[in-house]
């Protein structure tokens, strides 16, 4: 009996180093952040900081904008990434180059991406210069003004450009894992391209889609650098509010409350995805 027991311990022992790492560098700081969010300086537990956060003039606009960004950016990215992934894996000439090309934005830091898009949309930026050069505009159009839909559209464009590639890479990996035999069999039975996409590709891609969705949604709730670089104080999101409370207004407690809220929303969305996209084995058999 004894040796078997030891053998069962193996995986746990192997996990130990990474668990210790996570505990020290992630779990403990997270506990401390929660402490900041829920405990006053004198050590008593309080909801004061959450009340302050919710009562703040910038809170609801920030939450609203964050949600708008999540529901617009993610579907757009998925459709785009799926098309791109299908193109890249369709066996066309030069498809390998296409993968590198599409994956390029991953290498660009989000702040740099924000600054690039700022130089496009700003008053004396590329877009206005081109439109004026073509005679379509008489004087510069101000895209990035406070409260304008255009500044939100600029953020969405920049985010879609920047982060679609991560979804793309995950989907390509998923597509490459689907055995060719299924497609060949379906073709024999006369299934068209759309039928194969709907009946084979998408169902078998489900685990990849789940991973990509979870990753992207969590990242979308944290969207920050692009928004700040593009719009300054014009568009507020949850993460930029957390940053401002920390760095400018110097109230670490309210900043921690924002961080806790972002974590709670991210966790909630992850749970929803995991339940909604649960992979059933019977669904996978064609």
């Amino acid at each position: 009996m004894k040796p078997r027991r030891r053998a069962n311990l193996e995986p746990y022992l192997l996990l130990l180093p990474s668990l210790a790492y996570l505990a020290v560098f992630f779990a403990w700081p997270m506990v401390q952040a929660f402490g900041l969010a829920f405990r006053a300086d004198d050590g008593r537990w309080t909801a004061e900081f959450f009340q302050r956060m919710i009562g703040d003039a910038a809170f609801w606009p920030a939450l609203r904008t964050t949600l708008i960004l999540v529901v617009t950016i993610i579907p757009l990215q998925f459709i785009l990434a799926l098309i791109m992934a299908l193109l890249a894996t369709a066996g066309l000439r030069g498809a390998g180059a296409l993968i590198y090309f599409y994956a390029l934005p991953i290498a660009v830091s989000d702040l740099a991406a924000g600054i690039v898009w700022f130089s496009i949309f700003t008053e004396r930026g590329y877009l206005n210069t081109i439109l004026q050069g073509l005679g379509l505009l008489e004087r510069p159009f101000i895209f990035l003004q406070y409260g304008a839909t255009w500044s939100l559209i600029a953020v969405i464009l920049a985010e879609v450009w920047r982060a679609t590639s991560i979804v793309f890479v995950i989907l390509v990996a998923g597509l490459q894992g689907i055995p060719k035999e299924y497609h060949e069999a379906a073709e024999v039975f006369g299934a068209g391209w759309f039928a194969r996409l709907r009946r084979i590709t998408l169902p078998l891609l489900r685990p990849s889609i789940q991973v990509a969705l979870i990753l992207r949604t969590i990242l979308a709730f944290q969207v920050f650098a692009v928004v700040v670089a593009l719009t300054g104080d014009g568009v507020k999101v949850l993460a930029s509010e957390a940053y401002q409370w920390y760095s400018q207004w110097r109230n670490l407690n309210v900043a921690a409350a924002y961080a806790a809220l972002i974590l709670a929303i991210s966790l909630l969305s992850t749970v929803i995805y995991l339940r909604a996209l649960r992979t059933r084995t019977e669904a996978l058999t064609v």
């Binding site: 130990l16 700003t122 014009g234 401002q244 920390y246 109230n251």
Partner: protein, 472 residues
């Protein structure tokens, strides 16, 4: 069985490595300490040979030989942009007899680092350069060295008494020494001058005349060419606290929700029609002045200076406009302090004296556009652009109805939150068009709460109070 043992052995090794993970930094620290120890004797040896050699030549030179004050680490929230850091290292600090190391950082990072070092009882920073507002937080944590013993030796530097008093942070000890100053002024492209309202004198404008100027420009060019730094990086709150509020209400805080303040906000909304709508992305107005996105702008002297330096012939500098109660303006005092945990306090004190020398004060002005706090006369030493700013600065403070407004004093760690209140009032009233009275009542309550919590008495230009400052 063999395999299991092999795996177990591997796991034990891994566990040992993991267990070692925490102490690793200590090991590294020790190594560094050791190299330092090794380095020092070498330095001494070099010095010793110098000392041995020199007496042979001339006895007098031995005493005059520059002392070496060793490594002095400076943390600074000022001169923070990369090019300014390079100027600090390459020019301003170059002649210091020792090894100065200049590290630019944002204020929160500096505060966190100094507080952490104070907590650990062991530090790396020798000198701090930051705004007045940084120091109350650090003093509250007992992290600052008392510099009172330096004061008698600095008498000949002629630092204004009012500035020195600020450096006492409300105690009877000197915790920082003013080292440079700046303020906020206006800058305009010369192309805008033709649109000045009739009869207006650019050196003595009223806020209404500024609005009419903007209106004339908009009517002529169809573009909105006034500019304010209203992004998250911009210092819009200083415009509200130090300029327009004192100009209209005579104070920064007490008149926050008065009838005069309501009239003021109505005016700002009126003015904002002629301000570039992209202002919420503006951080440093020199950028938009140089790109001609705006023609007339308000900002900190150090955030306008590139425009004057690059194109001195294209721009004019002038004092901020005045309102019914006078010309509100905000002098910015930068102080130098020494943390209690400084590893080289003697070198740090030497650095403070060094920074206050006339030549160094002029170099600071030339390189990073902060004005001297000592009585040094500089016009012959600086470029046209900086002289233009300097003239506007002195016209502003010498104006007969000048109302100098100090940065918030006595709020301690909550010094940042007061800025939020003014910024929020601006966002809600001007950008979101909310009801003025409602916003002023709500934000006024936030402001009063902040003052009550900190017990901060009123500071100039508001009339002095003994207890926590009260809004009218």
């Amino acid at each position: 069985m063999k395999r299991v043992w092999a795996v177990l052995a591997l796991v034990t090794i891994l566990a040992l490595v993991a267990a070692c993970a925490a102490p690793t930094p200590q090991v590294i620290e020790k190594v560094v300490e050791k190299t330092v120890v090794v380095e020092k004797p070498v330095e001494k040896v070099v010095q010793a040979t110098v000392v041995v050699e020199k007496p042979v030549e001339k006895v007098v030179q031995v005493t005059a030989a520059p002392a070496n004050y060793g490594k002095v680490t400076i943390l600074s929230t000022q001169a923070n942009p990369v090019e300014e850091q390079e100027k600090m290292r390459g020019v301003v600090l170059k002649a210091f007899p020792g090894k100065p190391e200049f590290i630019g950082m944002e204020e929160p990072a500096l505060i966190d680092r100094v507080l952490a070092e104070a907590k650990a009882g062991k530090g790396t920073a020798d000198v701090l350069i930051s705004l007045h507002g940084t120091y109350p937080t650090l003093l509250a944590a007992n992290a600052l060295l008392d510099l009172s013993d330096m004061v008698p030796n600095l008498k000949d530097r002629n630092i204004p008494e009012a500035f020195m008093k600020l450096g006492k942070l409300g105690t009877d000890k000197q915790y920082y020494i003013p080292v440079m100053q700046a303020t906020y002024i206006m800058a305009a492209n010369k192309k805008a001058l033709q649109y000045l309202p009739a009869g207006a004198n650019i050196d003595a404008l009223t806020w209404e005349q500024l609005r009419d100027w903007g209106k004339n420009i908009t009517e002529a060019t169809k573009e909105k060419k006034l500019g304010f730094p209203a992004s998250d990086r911009g210092l819009m709150h200083r415009f509200l606290q130090g300029y327009i509020y004192p100009s209209y209400t005579g104070g920064m805080v007490t008149g926050f929700k008065t009838k005069e303040a309501e009239a003021m906000w109505t005016f700002i909304k009126d003015l904002w029609q002629y301000v570039n709508p992209q202002a919420t992305t503006y951080g440093f107005m020199q950028e938009q002045l140089l790109s001609e996105e705006v023609w007339v702008a308000f900002d900190h002297t150090a955030r306008l200076v590139e425009a004057f330096k690059q194109k001195p012939n294209d721009f004019v500098a002038f004092p901020a406009p005045k309102g019914p109660k006078g010309l509100g303006f905000m002098p910015v005092i930068v102080g130098v302090a020494i943390p209690k945990t400084a590893p080289n306090p003697e070198g740090a004190k030497q650095m403070v004296r060094y920074l206050l020398q006339d030549e160094v004060q002029i170099n600071i002005l030339r390189e990073i556009a902060f004005f001297p706090v000592t009585g040094v006369s500089y016009p012959g030493y600086v470029t046209v652009g900086i002289r233009m700013e300097g003239e506007a600065v002195s016209k502003q403070s010498a104006s007969p109805d000048a109302l100098p407004a100090l940065l918030p004093v006595g709020l301690g760690a909550k010094g940042g939150e007061i800025n939020k209140i003014y910024r929020d009032a601006f966002t809600r009233i001007v950008l979101k068009n909310e009801d003025i009275v409602k916003v002023l009542t709500e934000e006024g309550a936030n402001l009063q709460k902040l003052l009550d919590e900190t017990g901060a008495p009123c500071w100039p230009p508001d009339p002095a109070s003994t207890a926590a400052c009260q809004l009218k």
